[in-house]
């Protein structure tokens, strides 16, 4: 079933990214937009555009009825959700199926299976994908907790089931201190949340976020496109991503990627998806979750494999077989993505919406900009604060870092605060250059004071 016209249920750079891939495949495009986005570039570049609601996302980009109606009145036969908004909404996928509209993504069932964290964990255990060892649910007593801790191996983490903000949480490094620390965590949880229930899991030492890009067609073919390292985060928001992941052995890389394929196969996954793992200092790795959609950071994988992931998503959605096998994927060089956000690093990264009065993007060999913002445009307060993704490629990691530094210094933006300089500082640290850093990097290196 060939697609003819694709509606892009998103905004910003990803809407533009998808429109470009559709145009290259000869597919007609329909943009949807809120009243606030009527002058946006994705609206101008699409063949047709439909306003689907007022500025707040819940009334426009999350308005399923209006988005489906937009597909109906324009005769779009497929919807690409991009990332965020409706991309992991199983109900949306089901309604589309009932309306006879192709969803460019996985089956609703896969989204549901991976959205339920406990169920996903159980599925991974069943197929042999490693998960963070721990109690399956609450511990019944201190003694019960201790037995589980011994089985997992110290250090372990005791967490309050009602927890948050670190309360009722303890890292316990030996059997000797377990009882005392466990009781303290229980008392703290009871005091803070009125609920002293605890569970135990292995403490992942020096965690690094490594994720595997998956592509799967409707004919049972599942391949990986290598891994990405996304450990540079602030409050669980990724800031900078790179591929391949530095300082992991080829043997570990191979095992993680195979585990990613296994995870996707376990749920009969289709289309593009990402399996996220935590890697500890002993090179153990554990399944965290699967993102059943395209990722913000997908370009770094494209840069080192030469595979256009959005194009592949569209081809898969129209039922085509993957045009390459695992052996035909060649990895070449190194790529880094810098998320340039309208945020003020001096004010704890508070959003900095407003008009971009001056904007000059870097260019040259090995530099890619994915953005929808031009000088004179405004960063709206209703949506995420991304201005652009600056992606660089180099023949190796040092080359990519040097190019990244050069490109960041060419990046001129005025009118709003941005994270450009923060990225320059990140890649200038010794820790980053050496490549061994954990998800605690930003706290340790930057937010010390």
């Amino acid at each position: 079933m060939k697609l003819a016209k694709v509606l892009i249920a998103n905004r910003g750079e990803i809407a533009l990214r998808i429109i470009r891939a559709c145009k290259e495949l000869g597919l007609k495009t329909v943009a949807v937009h809120s009243t606030a986005d009527s002058q946006s570039q994705h609206v101008r570049l699409a063949d047709e555009a439909v306003c689907v609601g007022p500025a707040p996302a819940r009334e426009s980009y999350l308005n399923m009825a209006n988005i489906i109606a937009a597909a109906e009145i324009t005769g779009a036969d497929a919807i690409h959700p991009g990332y965020g908004f409706l991309s992991e909404n199983a109900d949306f996928v089901e309604v589309l199926s009932e309306c006879g509209i192709t969803f460019v993504g996985p089956l609703a069932e896969s989204i549901t299976k991976m959205g339920d964290k406990a169920r996903a964990r159980q599925t991974m255990i069943e197929v042999g994908v490693p998960v963070v060892p721990g109690s399956d649910g609450l511990i019944t007593s201190v003694e019960d907790g201790l037995q589980i801790a011994k089985k997992c191996g110290f250090p372990v983490m005791v967490k309050a089931s009602a927890g948050g903000g670190g309360k009722g949480m303890r890292v316990i490094s030996s059997e000797r201190e377990f009882s005392e620390q466990c009781e303290m965590a229980r008392a703290e949880a009871l005091n803070a949340f009125g609920n002293g229930d605890l569970y135990v899991e292995k403490f992942v030492e020096e965690p690094r976020h490594v994720e595997v890009q998956i592509l799967a067609d409707h004919h049972g073919n599942v391949i990986h496109l290598g891994e990405r390292n996304c450990s540079i985060q602030r409050r669980h928001q990724k800031l900078l991503e790179e591929a391949p992941s530095p300082v992991i052995s080829n043997e570990l890389r191979q095992r993680i990627c195979e585990a990613g394929v296994l995870a996707a196969k376990a749920i009969g996954y289709r289309n593009a998806g990402t399996v996220e793992f935590l890697v500890d200092k002993h090179e153990n790795f554990y399944f965290m979750e699967m993102n059943t959609r395209l990722q913000v950071e997908h370009p770094v994988t494209e840069m080192i494999t030469g595979v256009d992931l959005v194009r592949e998503q569209l081809l898969i959605a129209q039922g085509e077989k993957l045009s390459f096998s695992q052996d035909e994927i060649n990895f070449n060089g190194h790529s880094i993505e810098f998320r340039i956000n309208a945020e003020d690093p001096e004010r704890d990264f508070a959003p900095s919406p407003g008009e971009v009065v001056r904007l000059i993007y870097p260019g040259g060999y090995g530099v890619r900009i994915d953005s929808m913002v031009s000088a004179g445009d405004s960063i709206l307060p209703y949506y995420d604060s991304m201005v652009a993704k600056l992606i660089v490629w180099g023949k190796d990691r040092d080359d990519a870092i040097a190019r990244g530094k050069r490109a960041l210094r060419e990046f001129e933006i005025e009118g709003i605060e941005s994270t450009v300089n923060v990225h320059d500082q990140i890649i200038s640290t010794d820790t980053f250059r050496k490549g061994y850093f954990t998800t605690g990097f930003m706290d340790k290196e930057f937010l010390k004071e």
Partner: protein
């Protein structure tokens, strides 16, 4: 065949039938409900909560006595009023069909239909101009 046509149409319009045919000898009468009027056929559960235009009053602009009625949702427009028709507050101006559901569009104003901008069965976006009313000083609500 001796049939009171006016009574037949009256009964048909009040019934659940979408089509009715009767023939006798060489005479036959066929009544068919027009799609714009068929919303009743859908039954209450399928009709979404009535959306009254005053919800969209901020989008209703009054310029020199002209009231602009804009779409409060995306859909295919089925007007139910014609030019020159007097409209009372709460009157159904038309339907916006989406996902096989006819959504009523009721007037928050009193006026006279001045211009039908969106065509019958035309696909319209949110906030798109559907029709214009002239303010009517002799309110009929």
């Amino acid at each position: 065949m001796s049939i009171n046509l006016r009574n037949l149409i009256q009964h048909f319009s009040e019934s659940d039938y979408s089509q009715f045919e009767v023939s006798s000898g060489n005479q036959s009468i066929s009544l068919k409900r027009r799609q714009t009027l068929s919303v009743d056929d859908l039954g209450d559960p399928q009709i979404s909560e009535t959306e009254v235009m005053n919800q969209a009053s901020e989008k209703t602009e009054v310029l020199s006595g002209i009231i602009e009625i804009k779409a409060n949702r995306v859909g295919q427009f089925f007007p139910k009023v014609s030019i020159g028709e007097k409209v009372s507050r709460g009157q159904v101006l038309g339907y916006l069909k989406a996902m096989n559901i006819m959504n009523e569009l009721r007037s928050a104003h009193v006026g006279v239909v001045h211009r039908l901008v969106a065509q019958h069965q035309e696909g319209v976006a949110y906030d798109e101009l559907l029709l214009e009313l002239c303010e009517d000083n002799n309110e009929i609500s």
